[in-house]
């Protein structure tokens, strides 16, 4: 069940989403990461970030709000401590990059490009809602998305995926800007802006007040985003949002995704990706589907 994203052949369409699997180096005590289609590692910025003060998370109905604030080890330690570990993995590792300025994104990517590594490519986070300067200004603006994508494209031949925010008026237009500037693929959706208040204390349940909603609650938002994007671009779309079951993968593929990322489900079950993969294979076997192209964009128009 291979799927192709740009120049990369994934062994199956199920990846794990950035920020839900650490740096991809330690969840193997619960599951064999090499069986996954790929791993997107936690967002890396130029300098280490402590992240936001607690509380950072709260559960909501069929979902969770988070405001971690891009806590990460910074690109230097990513290069020295994490990159070498990926040489031994037999799955595609995609590095997620975040930044607060065009220069920061470029500096991070250039630092990684300057050293030999086995990364399959980059996913560019232009849509973190949880920090004042989380690249969000790029994610909501077609021209900035285009400029950023173009600058990064000039500096790498590796897979370049732009991760899109649902917190925009027209997500398809942003996707078109990324495509026009040379992105190999887009992924959607990042978290949906949300908020939760404790009625008894009248305080926000999360320190930053506004934070990002993920989990099954956002799946319909993700499926709709993938549908809208795939109708507007010809590059592959990677679907993200609330996937917990094999049939959720099918749903995203039918809407137009070529691959998907499992996110919040990893928090409940670090082996979620592989369980979902097994369920997905079972679905395909039962329905005599031998090639993913039979599913991708296969939404029927008759109701």
């Amino acid at each position: 069940m291979n799927t192709t994203i740009g120049s990369i052949e994934l062994k199956n369409p199920i990846l794990v989403a950035s920020g839900t699997f650490g740096y991809g180096e330690k969840s193997d005590e619960f599951s064999d990461v090499n069986q996954l289609g790929g791993i997107i590692t936690k967002s890396i910025t130029l300098h280490p970030r402590e992240g936001n003060p607690p509380p950072r998370i709260v559960e909501t109905a069929s979902g969770m709000l988070n405001s971690i604030g891009l806590a990460n080890i910074g690109v230097d330690r990513y290069i020295s401590d994490m990159l070498p570990k990926y040489d031994d993995l037999n799955t595609s590792v995609i590095m997620n990059i975040a930044g607060s300025s065009l220069t920061e994104y470029i500096n991070v990517l250039e630092a990684v490009e300057a050293v030999p590594n086995s990364l399959a490519g980059y996913e560019i986070n232009i849509s973190c809602p949880n920090v004042g300067e989380g690249g969000m200004e790029f994610g909501v603006d077609c021209d900035l998305t285009s400029q950023l994508t173009s600058e990064l494209r000039q500096r790498t031949d590796k897979l370049l995926v732009i991760k899109l925010s649902p917190n925009v008026t027209n997500i398809a237009a942003i996707a078109q800007s990324a495509e026009g500037a040379g992105a190999d693929a887009v992924s959607a959706i990042n978290t949906v802006v949300g908020m939760s208040i404790n009625p008894a204390t009248r305080k926000s349940n999360v320190y930053t007040k506004l934070c990002g909603l993920s989990g099954p609650a956002v799946k319909p938002v993700g499926v709709a985003a993938v549908y809208k994007i795939s109708q507007s671009v010809s590059i592959p779309v990677i679907g993200i949002g609330g996937i917990t079951k094999g049939v959720d993968v099918v749903e995203y593929l039918l809407a137009g995704a070529s691959a998907v990322q499992v996110g919040t489900a990893n928090f409940r079950d670090p082996a979620a990706g592989l369980k979902i993969l097994t369920e997905f294979h079972d679905f395909c076997d039962k329905n005599n589907i031998s090639d993913l192209t039979e599913l991708i964009g296969g939404l029927r128009d008759d109701t």
């Binding site: 699997f21 619960f30 402590e50 003060p53 607690p54 950072r56 559960e59 971690i68 806590a71 080890i73």
Partner: protein
């Protein structure tokens, strides 16, 4: 080694007002438990209505089963309360670190538990008793209905209630101040609600006493992936799983900390 395991509920009963104890058969996880302080994380509810696991401190390990003590707090704990013997619950564990007893030789240990914070404290109390190690235990609550131990100062077990309906009247602090003054070289180990820990923190800092806290935190994964359960630190927890300097991950660096290593 941390494991994911589905286990049968062996018993689930009320201990006191709003507080319950559940024993779950978990042979794999129980064989890996290193000691008091560690926790397991349980899935609650059917489907994904409540997606996040509930971290539960281990209250005892016996015959391949693990006991937890939980307080009715919201929908998740109500769901736990309604489980009957024989039903299956999924757990991940053991997670986190344990109380460190090596460095406290020659000191008199005073254990302090409040609310569901009694779970790891009772586990430690049992272990110290088995080892014939002298120690004192203080368990505080608002009123007698929330207590399930017997007030037995002769045996070193001191209950406190805000309304004086059982044990000493007052908070755990009233008792702690008395006992810490009585013994030669007190060492405080506590787990409970934040205001209780804050009061103990102030007390130990002023008196220059040492001790350990097991802290509670909201968690999404319990395994270090989500970075959600941070606590502010005074030390640098710059480890492989937690690279922070200002914050430490409770699930991986904790939940047990030296009192002077964290800011409450």
């Amino acid at each position: 080694m941390r494991r994911i395991e589905s286990g049968k509920v062996l018993s689930n009963h009320k201990l006191a007002k709003g507080m319950y104890r559940m024993d779950i058969s978990l042979p794999d996880i129980s064989s890996e438990v290193q000691g008091p302080g560690q926790f397991i994380s349980l899935t609650v509810g059917e489907g994904w209505q409540m997606p996040l696991r509930r971290p539960m401190s281990i209250a005892s390990v016996e015959n391949e089963s693990i006991s937890i003590i939980y307080k009715i707090f919201g929908e998740g704990t109500v769901w736990l309360k309604d489980r009957s013997s024989g039903e299956v619950i999924e757990a991940i564990g053991p997670l986190g670190n344990k109380f460190s007893l090596d460095k406290i030789n020659g000191k008199e240990i005073i254990l302090v538990g409040g609310g569901v914070g009694v779970a790891p404290i009772l586990y430690l109390h049992d272990q110290l008793s088995e080892d014939n190690r002298d120690h004192l235990l203080i368990v505080g609550s608002v009123t007698a209905a929330e207590q399930f131990l017997e007030h037995s100062p002769k045996a070193g077990i001191h209950l406190t209630t805000d309304d004086g309906s059982v044990g000493e009247k007052g908070t755990v602090m009233t008792m702690l101040e008395i006992l810490a003054d009585k013994v030669e070289n007190p060492y405080i180990i506590a787990c409970g609600p934040k205001p209780m820990l804050a009061a103990i923190y102030k007390f130990t800092t002023e008196k220059g006493l040492e001790g350990q806290f097991a802290v509670e935190s909201y968690m999404a994964c319990g395994t270090g992936l989500c970075q959600g359960c941070v606590i502010e630190t005074t030390k640098n927890f710059n480890k492989e799983h937690s690279y922070h300097q200002k914050y430490s991950l409770v699930c991986s660096d904790g939940p047990v900390y030296d009192i002077n290593a964290i800011r409450i």
